[in-house]
């Protein structure tokens, strides 16, 4: 849990953060200022998350990536200048990340997550992981969980994206607007004079770890009934995570045809394993999952960063526990899995 430090905001901070303090309040801003965030994976999605979080005014952000910047990163990754292709992606992003907000401490880590001990991840208040394999995600999630630290992960494949959150046992306050009848005086001509009163309610949300969410049992009637809603995004995510796990990479734009075949084969496997209706996961959903489309990185980066803000400021209900962006309908929705 982020400690609310009692130091007052400086004048410079109050000025720069004015428009957001007017939204989420001073208390939230102080909590943000005390929080330490780790961002894993500096592709376009990681850059979007980093941008939004650094702008919000957290204490520190660590950018972790052991990969080199590629030409193909540049069509969604705006923190790395084009002339740094071939350099470490986190380091290549450092300068611009710092320039976004000099009041935030930004550092880099270039080791692979596999070479870092659990204690590395738990020094942060919240971890946002992108681009990792399922096994790596689960390991970091469990390490965070054991130390009561919050964990988010997400990915963008082409125009599709998802987010998962494990905020463990999360307490937060929610603003509720109530209508209170009032009479203001003879001038009041309103039919039912009432005044909006906002009250703060304390709430609590219990989360499950990633492995539970990813191994949701689709033979259970309560999940079966979810199929009637007809949105296959959960399975698209499963297929893409499986692709990454088995091929050690994401679907590659330059191998669009061959990779589409692999994806469709995996789709058929998963449909069979989970006993899904035929045609439930349409081919159309698996054709535009190559590379990272900038607009979708912006969308997912916005959603994930907002969850970081909610989580560390302990204000407003966070999403529990998965968010999907279905590009075909342009719908973004939250569903709970694994509970």
């Amino acid at each position: 849990m982020v400690e609310n430090n009692d130091m007052e905001l400086s004048e410079a901070e109050a000025e720069q953060y004015d428009r957001q303090i007017r939204l989420w309040g001073l208390e939230s801003q102080k909590r943000l200022r005390a929080s330490k965030v780790l961002i894993i994976g500096l592709t376009g999605l990681g850059a979007e998350i980093a941008k939004n979080i650094i702008l919000s005014g957290v204490k520190s952000v660590c950018l972790l990536d052991n990969e080199k910047l590629r030409e193909t990163d540049l069509y969604s990754q705006f923190l790395s200048p084009p002339d740094k292709v071939g350099e470490n992606r986190a380091e290549a992003s450092l300068q611009r990340a710092k320039a976004l907000n000099p009041m935030v401490e930004v550092t880099t880590e270039t080791k692979s997550v596999d070479d870092l001990p659990d204690s590395f991840f738990t020094q942060f208040d919240i971890v946002c992981a992108t681009g990792l394999k399922q096994e790596q995600l689960e390991r970091i999630n469990n390490a965070c969980r054991d130390s009561n630290k919050k964990f988010l992960c997400g990915d963008v494949w082409g125009v599709f994206g998802y987010m998962f959150a494990d905020l463990v046992d999360h307490e937060y306050s929610e603003e509720i607007v109530q209508h209170k009848a009032v009479k203001r005086g003879p001038d009041d001509t309103a039919k039912n004079p009432c005044e909006k009163v906002t009250i703060n309610v304390k709430r609590r949300a219990i989360y499950v770890p990633l492995q539970n969410a990813l191994s949701a049992d689709w033979s259970k009637p309560e999940l079966r009934s979810r199929l009637r809603r007809g949105d296959p995004s959960y399975f698209v995510m499963k297929i893409l995570l499986r692709f990454r796990d088995e091929n050690n990479r994401n679907p590659d734009p330059s191998k669009r045809k061959a990779d589409t075949e692999i994806l469709l084969r995996m789709r058929d496997e998963i449909v069979k394993e989970l006993n899904l209706p035929n045609g439930f996961v349409s081919d159309a959903l698996l054709t535009d999952v190559f590379g990272i489309v900038s607009g979708v990185a912006a969308v997912l980066g916005g959603v994930i960063a907002q969850e970081v803000v909610k989580a560390v400021s302990q204000r407003e209900p966070p999403h529990n526990n998965m968010f999907f962006f279905n590009p075909i309908k342009c719908v973004g929705f939250v569903e709970l899995y694994g509970q």
Binding site: E8, L9, A14, E15, Q16, Y17, D18, R19, Q20, I21, R22, L23, L26, G44, E48, N52, L55, S56, G57, L74, Y75, F78, P81, P82, A99, L100, P102, G158, V159, R184, G185, P186, D187, D252, P253, S254, R256, F290, G291, V293, S294, G295, V296, A297, A298, V299, G302, V303, Q306, V309, H319, F323, F325, P327, K329, C330, V331, F333, V334, E335
Partner: protein, 608 residues
């Protein structure tokens, strides 16, 4: 420079992007994000327009700008920053207002798509009309706090920005402001008016003295008050507040005594007003509450502490002097323009609003809160802007791909709806309103007014305020007689003539057009003896925007306080890209989805 990596998009889209030209209107919160997405995706030709300059309070979300850019052109800096992401795109930046002859229909026609990232209705209406005239698809965006929306506007296919009447601007009766305030906002409006009376552009509609014409005060008490007034303060009343203040050399104590003492006692003499209300308490300079208060420990921002009445009076005195000095330092005839970011101007309004609030037993507010209300600040965050801009660019891609029919409106909700949806798309495009006075094939509207009293000048106002025109020209249908001309001076000599005097009668029709907007509308005149001003009536009998009998106070459009110089609403700074919506997401129906649009605009004061 093709959509930058082959294989991400199908070939058709890759090629369409490579041959596209896009206009972004506004380089604020959403505009910066849109520009980034376009540049990264590989849109090769982009133009961006914004007349605004960068402010510190933009930096929490307008990420193409840094501290060292404060004061510089948003459009130019946005261009320079975006080029560093991808130097192979061609960006043209215009530090300019989009409402200008330079950006007419032929200019807009060169673009495949126009993307609006604006913060005010005036500019939105304008771009809407030009895109209709140019037949270019427009993607309209907006956010307010956590919420946002993306909407496609395409002539003949969807409703336009003006198909649905907008919620009227919040207004307060003049007598509430001048005589019987009951809420903090009434005192804040009064304080802004007072600022203008003393230091700004004098507007007779922003009088701050007691309103003796208050119908509620009528009766013996009111009458006796008026007679007694004639003998003592009568002279003062007839003089403008500004002249009187100048004669006293802006002496803070004298000003205070008049505004918060004499005027309040005068109000008390209008006894009818206080039969059902708690009467106000006049203040005297030498006996102010809070003088001997020991300062208490305050936690929070300094601006969040509520000043005592005594402190307010001290601030009032200091501000009177500093604002007077500022005014004196300007050329003869010039005046100050209220700006929430000018320290003295904001301090003055905070102090005066709170002193008045105390007098009327209304809760005092902090400078922080009063700044929100007086400056109409709409909170804005990076994440909501990023999401809305991301979806807007995805919509642009769908349009280029030839899938325009799929581009339904999408709402970003502050919290998920009952179906767990955070981004809620509409199921179908919303068809144009056939009665729309803007996008219908033959736009038509009726103007209900009293032809015997409505002057040509009033007609001009009605066309500008009611129909959102910039430079209307009006001719009599069938006769070709020019009634109003946008050419300066051409019809000014008729300004004070009534419509009847120039031969217009009930049932006559005017053809009104605006060359800037390439918009023409037939206006039928409808005689109504009772109508005091004017009212627009559409065939569907939808309520149309009501006339604004008084000019809005500073900042008629969100937080766009006019800056010194030729006044024209700023058309950018997505600070307050507005238009928020709730969609009732129940059973699919054929009819237009329920929606509610709200728009934060400044208060408009109407006379009783």
């Amino acid at each position: 420079m093709v959509a930058r990596v082959a294989g991400v998009f199908d070939e058709k889209l890759t090629e369409a992007i490579a041959n596209s030209k896009v206009l972004v209107v506004g380089a604020g919160g959403i505009g910066c994000e849109i520009l980034k997405n376009l540049v990264l995706t590989g849109f090769p030709n982009i133009e961006i327009i914004d007349l605004d300059t960068i402010d510190v309070s933009n930096l929490n979300r307008q990420f193409l700008f840094h501290k060292e850019h404060v004061g510089k052109s948003k459009a130019q800096v946005a261009k320079d920053s975006a080029l560093s992401f991808n130097p192979n795109v061609n960006i043209v930046a215009h530090h300019d207002s989009v409402i200008s002859n330079d950006y007419g229909v032929s200019y807009f026609k060169q673009f495949n798509i126009v993307m609006n990232a604006l913060d005010n209705r005036v500019a939105r209406n304008h771009v809407n009309r030009i895109c209709l005239a140019a037949n270019v698809p427009l993607i309209e965006t907006g956010t307010a706090g956590y919420a946002g929306q993306i909407e496609l506007i395409k002539k003949g296919l969807t409703q336009c920005y003006e198909c649905q009447p907008k919620a009227p601007q919040k207004s307060f009766p003049g007598c509430t402001i001048r005589n019987t305030p009951s809420e903090p906002i009434h005192c804040i409006v009064w304080a802004k008016h007072l600022f203008n009376q003393l230091f700004g552009e004098e507007d007779p509609d922003q009088d701050v003295s007691p309103d003796t014409a208050d119908p509620e005060a009528a009766g013996e008490a009111g009458a006796s008050a008026m007679t007694s007034k004639e003998t003592d303060a009568g002279n003062v009343e007839r003089k403008s507040t500004r002249m009187w203040a100048a004669e006293t050399d802006y002496d803070p104590q004298k000003l205070f005594s008049k505004l918060f003492g004499d005027d309040i006692r005068y109000l008390l003499s209008m006894e009818n007003l206080w039969k059902k209300r708690r009467p106000p308490t006049p203040l005297t300079w030498d006996n102010l509450p809070g003088k001997d208060d020991t300062p208490t420990q305050h936690s929070g921002l300094p601006d969040q502490r509520v000043w005592s009445v005594y402190e307010c009076a001290q601030v009032f005195a200091t501000c009177c002097k500093s604002l007077q000095a500022d005014l004196k330092g300007r050329p003869e005839g010039d005046h100050l323009v209220w700006d929430k970011d000018e320290k003295s101007a904001m301090d003055f309004v905070t102090a005066c609003a709170n002193i008045r609030a105390h007098i009327f037993n209304i809760q005092l507010k902090s400078r922080f809160e009063i700044k929100s209300m007086a400056g109409n600040i709409i909170p804005a965050i990076a994440t909501a802007n990023a999401i809305v801009a991301g979806i807007a660019v995805l919509r642009a891609q769908s349009i280029l791909k030839g899938d325009i029919e799929t581009c339904t409106s999408v709402y970003l909700r502050p919290k998920v709806n009952h179906r767990g949806q955070l981004f809620v798309p509409e199921r179908t495009l919303t068809a144009p309103n056939p009665k729309c006075y803007v996008c219908a094939p033959k736009p038509e509207v009726a103007l209900a007014c009293n032809l015997k009293s409505l002057t040509l000048k009033d007609l001009n106002t009605a066309l500008k305020e009611g129909l959102n025109m910039q430079a209307p020209d009006a001719t009599v249908e069938g006769k070709g007689l020019v009634v109003l001309s946008s050419e300066p001076g051409e019809t000014d000599h008729n300004n004070d003539k009534t419509l009847e005097e120039i031969g217009l009668n009930d049932g006559c029709a005017l053809m009104v057009d605006d060359f800037l907007q390439n918009y023409e509308v037939r206006v039928r005149l409808q005689q109504e003896d009772e109508e005091k001003a004017w009212r627009l009536v559409t065939d569907v009998d939808e309520p149309m925007p009501a006339p604004k009998e008084q000019k809005p106070t500073n900042g008629a459009n969100g937080n766009n306080e006019p800056k010194p110089g030729p006044s024209r609403p700023k058309d950018d700074d997505s600070d307050s890209d507005m238009e928020i919506i709730e969609e009732d997401d129940g059973v699919p129906t054929a009819k237009a989805p329920k929606r509610r649009r709200t728009e934060m605009t400044d208060e408009v004061v109407e006379l009783c």
